[in-house]
Symmetry: none
Subunit: 201 residues, 4 copies
DNA sequence: GATGAATGAGCTTTCATTCAT
DNA sequence: AATGAATGAAAGCTCATTCAT
């Protein structure tokens, strides 16, 4: 009943809370990217991070929480890349599509990781929120604005989203599975151009 | 505690080998669609089919083999829908994109199932082959033919594939997650038209 | 992802389902009696029964289900002992109180086990039902009958129950904790007599 | 997943040692009463008290020590209630039984808590001492005095204890589990009267 | 006194697969 | 063909307690 008293062990390097937290996150990301979310176990993360199980759970609520924390960063980094430099409709659309391809080709494992989570979210409600961000992005309102200004076709956002980003996603899926060999720059441009052609007013 | 105690299953009527095989496949499909491949256990399939564990393993090589068998059917059904009626480039492209949307909106769970497997295939080698079929389809050679005839743009197949089918996939992902509400027919047409516009010569 | 294939191991003695089930129950009872329900782990039961973890879960829903199954037997055995031979009020009351003491002194560990579960039931809803049986017994209607016949005092059943069985329970608690040394027979009689004196009409 | 992430606890105002000690005790009592001793974790107490883990261990030797400290108070409060106002045998007996019921109906959660600890003490040696006090009380010598004076029956103390207090305990168990609805006063009197009737000389 | 990160053995439970019958 | 008991590694997670700071 009484839990066994903690045994004396080799004292571990003492990190500050934030350092430890970071080291766990980093290790988790490494594992998720390397073997995928599902195949990664807490034990893998423990070994990779040098933290103990308890420490991991001290900082995070479990595997899912680790993934969520990482994804929030990923989404941020990636929408950074996709933000239009200028503010014309064309810049917006091309940046969204081209930026996604560029980012994904630069971070192929991270792309696959986000893609895995998006798929799991269908069954695992814990990922619903983060999957939303992954699926639709936040471009809806901006697109609506350009629709009003007659700069782009008046399409429902899901359709527009699909026309703009669908090819990019698809291409990244092929590319990260090693099935596409086109030079990154050309693919990115071809897809960005096509995206704009597909929705321009 | 929440789990059911070892259940005495009511004795089922004797089936022939083929009937049993079919009933297992059907049950497996039902489970996969309902809860996803990962969340489905052999036990779920056992209960749903009325077969015994041993029987399932007698007919199939395991969970993966069940999924593979089902997917082959799915892919067949779906490429049926995507086959061009005519044989012009336009018909080919529009049938591929529009047919996919039509099929997916008609079989949303099946679409999600194939999508799940495609994602899992990244980590699970057992699904590599079937994932190939899901990812690239078999349109490559046909497209090349139309390229030669100058009917379509001279794009590498992965890019062309992305332009033609990427929007369709993307749209289905949104739609099967309940995030798209456009009328099936309109969406299907819009996406088919866009696909053709994106690649026509 | 794919669970590792079961390794080849020394073939275990094959028991029929019922034999295995029984051996698990027996082992669980032994553990629960020896170290208490809380202190007993599934692993203890596994070792004591010779079954594997999986086997235990094949037959039972977990620790709680094992306890419940055992308690149902215990309650049966004990209410057997407490059943009045005759059918007068006096016989009924004396058999209830005296029988409980006799049974409890004969099965001290089983008494303690039931007592432990009754206590845990306060917090653990899974034991609510079985705790009901342990707490109030089923004598209410019979008592009501004797009330109507003016053979016993007109007391609410909880009070009557307390007067009749409270001393018996209390005594068993002392005795099974090694704090009472009175000869079983005398104690049983003293308590049975007192019970009757407390409620006779 | 369900667990709260590492929380930044709002800095609390500085307490003196004694205040801190008290606040921990209070919080522990609240938790123990609400969810039971076993189900309460140090973390629960930490959150409820606003103290840190280290602080709790600075003032107390652990979960068990907290319970013990609280129980000593509880026992005091309750034997206060059970002390005979007068000093006749009848007053002594009635005060013991009636006082227990009165106290228990006024402090139902505290009664359940003591009952839980008494049960756990069977397995957990750390509670042996406090369980002794809970089980037998301290009335033995007083009873012996009245035996000598022929005011009460010459019964071994365990039996007398059972006759006097057994119904009270039993009733409280039913009542605190919500199974008894009799007016507190009437029940208390009925049980006190019966106790006296059971042992008077 | 106070902090809270760190510990890690140990818990319950799952489940794809095997194989004696 | 069919049965279903048996397997057991491995998973995620808990939590009383310690101790460097």
């Amino acid at each position: 009943m009484a839990r066994a008293a903690a045994k004396k062990v080799k004292p571990r390097k003492r990190l500050t809370g934030d350092e430890r937290r970071e080291s766990i996150l980093e290790a988790a990301l490494g594992c998720f990217l390397e073997k995928g979310y599902i195949a990664t176990t807490i034990n893998d993360i423990r070994e990779a991070s040098g933290a103990t199980t308890g420490s991991i759970y001290h900082f995070f609520d479990g595997k899912g929480a680790l993934a969520t924390a990482l994804l929030e960063d990923a989404i941020a980094g990636w929408s950074g890349e996709s933000q239009a430099a200028g503010d014309t409709a064309e810049a917006f659309v091309k940046a969204a599509a081209g930026g996604l391809v560029t980012w994904g080709l630069k971070n192929p494992e991270l792309f696959r990781f986000t893609d895995e989570i998006r798929t799991l979210a269908v069954t695992a409600p814990e990922f619903a929120e983060v999957a939303d961000a992954l699926s639709e992005g936040s471009g809806g309102p901006t697109y609506a604005k350009f629709v009003k200004a007659k700069k782009v076709k008046d399409l429902p956002w899901p359709v527009a989203h699909s026309l703009i980003l669908g090819p990019a996603y698809n291409y990244l899926r092929l590319a990260t599975a090693g099935r596409a060999r086109v030079a990154a720059k050309r693919a990115s441009e071809a897809i960005a151009d096509a995206a704009w052609a597909a929705v321009k007013g």
